[in-house]
């Protein structure tokens, strides 16, 4: 009679490998999707000196893909705290782009932590906004952010932005 032990062990090993591989693949996919989303946010806010701000309707279209219907902003430093619709955020971006000659938003040190259920994820990152304003010249600002991304209809959307105060005056 053939012993079942090695057969069972190899089956278990195979199952474990498949489970680990699928877990990694799923996690990576969502991680990549969120990173791509951050890249879209970068390009939505950034403005090259050669380009003019995009029309409002296009910005709203971009914002609807990026932000949840009610996106919460918690900011201790500036007076931006509140809940915004994608339209309101698009208007904010356009108003900002109207005040600058060029701007570049970039995210650094991005760490993504998925919450149980994998429908929400916290993104911990450092945002850098660098450019040239029409009135005050060059600007270069850093903010440490915690962004909550929520999965809505199989699409990730940013639903909360929290500005973390690293240094407290």
């Amino acid at each position: 009679m053939v012993s079942r032990r090695p057969l069972l062990t190899s089956f278990l090993c195979l199952a474990l490998i498949v489970a680990a591989f699928s877990f990694l693949r799923l996690t990576k996919n969502d991680t990549e999707r969120i990173k791509r989303h951050l890249a879209l946010l970068e390009s939505m806010v950034s403005l090259s000196s050669r380009n003019t701000p995009a029309p409002f309707l296009q910005k709203v279209k971009e914002a609807k893909l990026l932000f949840a219907r009610n996106c919460q902003v918690i900011d201790h430093e500036d007076d931006f705290t509140g809940t915004y619709s994608p339209q309101a955020l698009a208007a904010l971006v356009l108003r900002f782009q109207g005040q600058v000659l060029s701007a570049k938003l970039a995210f650094y040190d991005v760490k993504i932590t998925f919450l149980p259920g994998k429908r929400e994820a916290w993104i911990h990152c450092t945002a850098r906004l660098k450019g040239k304003a029409r009135s005050q010249g060059a600007f270069d600002e850093f903010r440490e952010l915690k962004i909550l991304a929520t999965k809505e209809q199989e699409r990730w959307r940013f639903s909360r932005f929290v500005n973390i105060e690293a240094l407290e005056k």
Binding site: D109, D140, F142, L145, A166, L167, E168
Partner: protein
């Protein structure tokens, strides 16, 4: 070293020992420059005139393995990671009271001489106590209006290291 010696030094035979040495040097260098002594390029004017934009230095973590930050140390403060960090000077330790009057720094009610500040300043800040486990950090450039300069107390756990030079 003669010609063949140089050749042997630069292009050694690929033996097991050579490969092992190469791997060890690569891993060692990676760990050293990513964990112990991190290369940093200064970007921004908050530490002028001590450091200018474009200056190059290292963030050395070794000193803080043995003792906490000290007054006068120029330290690096992490944000969400180590790619972008604040570079500031420690001016007060836990429990100290910090204030600015007419651009002069007062710690525990006493005027602190700051030789590294060369520009006149009009900073005014009401006294505040540094929390336990925190240090108070400020940039050397006090020409920047107080509202535009990023400074304040920060948990010691956020201090990554100090400048090497």
């Amino acid at each position: 070293m003669d010609r063949s010696g140089y050749k042997h030094f630069l292009f050694p035979k690929l033996t097991k020992a050579t490969l092992l040495r190469m791997v060890l040097i690569t891993v060692g260098a990676y760990l050293f420059f990513s964990r112990v002594c991190i290369p940093v390029r200064v970007d921004g004017i908050s530490m002028e005139p001590t450091y200018h934009p474009g200056d190059f230095t290292f963030c050395c973590r070794v000193p803080y393995f043995f003792h906490p930050p000290r007054v006068g140390d120029i330290v690096f403060i992490r944000m969400s990671g180590w790619k972008v960090m604040y570079m500031k000077r420690v001016i007060a330790l836990p429990g100290d009271r910090v204030a600015f009057r007419n651009g002069y720094l007062y710690v525990n009610g006493k005027l602190r001489q700051e030789d590294y500040v060369t520009t006149p300043s009009n900073w005014d800040l009401t006294p505040r106590k540094v929390k336990p486990g925190h240090v108070y950090v400020v940039g050397d450039n006090r020409k920047i209006p107080i509202g535009d300069q990023v400074f304040g107390q920060v948990p010691i756990s956020r201090v990554v290291g100090k400048v090497l030079w």
